[in-house]
Amino acid sequence: MIADADTKLFEWMNSLAGKNWLLDKFVMWTANDYFVPILMTLLMVTLWFSGRTLIQRERSQRVFMLALSCMGIANGFVKISNNFFFRPRPYVGHEAHMLFYPPTDSSFPSNGAAVTFALATAVFISNRKLGTVLYFLCLVWAFARVTAGVHYPFDILGGWAFGVATVVFTYFVFIYVEPWGTFLIRAFRKVYLA
């Protein structure tokens, strides 16, 4: 029943493609592998420098390190999951309207969604404003990827779950290895880079 709803939702969203030139351009612009991830990473770079006081800046830099680690770990989790589970892309077995090149790796979970949602969630924990902006970008990207025929909606949901789980896991790892976070920030401070 879930698979049925997933397919129906995909078909409805993908049916939006090819009907409106402006929507197609928007989807092609936002669904590609670079635009949204780069925009999100650029916003994250500001975290390293933001904060008018030392305490505010240190908090932001800790979030930066957490988010950066989450991106890498989420990517690793998805790669591990792909070794055990493979779901074909929507264009295999459906008449999908493709606005994107046809990828061949597993559709579930969405690697892009896992990484971007991990980043957004890590930031959202301590910076609600920036976290909300990042979440908005994730949702736009997710919508574009489904509309472009790259993913089923459930792949995005799976990616989100992977992302959130990664943040929870990394958060506790960070508590466990805490002296290293402080040590790293102090080392950067010594050379005036934090």
Partner: protein, 137 residues
């Protein structure tokens, strides 16, 4: 692929250079600013990010199989590091005669890391730190 990598690194480098200026302008880290007034730093960021995005996405079709996620991550870090290095060098050269508006009364009141760069450039801070170490030795 080499072309794609080069384009990607260059795009990230220019965009990061811009975004770093906006961030240091907002945080008041004068030693890393290219401009005296933060408004110019924000404008520089806007131009750098929008111009590099427009160039990257219009010069070629980017909806093709290109860089993997891990590669993107590595090149992004490289470009951000290079942008930070360029910021440090350029800001030190531009502001080589930077004098603090509110100079700290003593060496200890400078504060660590970026706090120091609110009063002096990166090169000045390094020079000061080396001199201090030599005196202690």
């Amino acid at each position: 692929m080499i072309n794609m990598t080069g384009d990607y690194v260059l795009y990230n480098f220019i965009a990061c250079l811009g975004i770093i200026q906006a961030a240091v302008g907002y945080a008041g880290i004068r030693g890393l600013c290219f401009f005296k007034r933060p408004i110019f730093a924000y404008l520089f960021a806007l131009v750098a990010v929008s111009a590099s995005s427009a160039w990257f996405f219009t010069v070629k079709d980017r909806n093709i199989k290109g860089l993997e996620g891990t590669e993107q991550f590595t090149y992004m870090i490289t470009a951000a590091g290079a942008a930070l290095a360029a910021t440090v060098i350029l800001s030190s050269l531009i502001n080589w005669r930077l004098k603090s508006k509110n100079p700290p009364t003593s060496e200890d009141s400078l504060g660590p890391g970026f706090e120091t760069l609110k009063h002096m450039t990166y090169f000045q801070a390094i020079k000061r730190s080396l001199r201090k170490k030599r005196r202690q030795a």
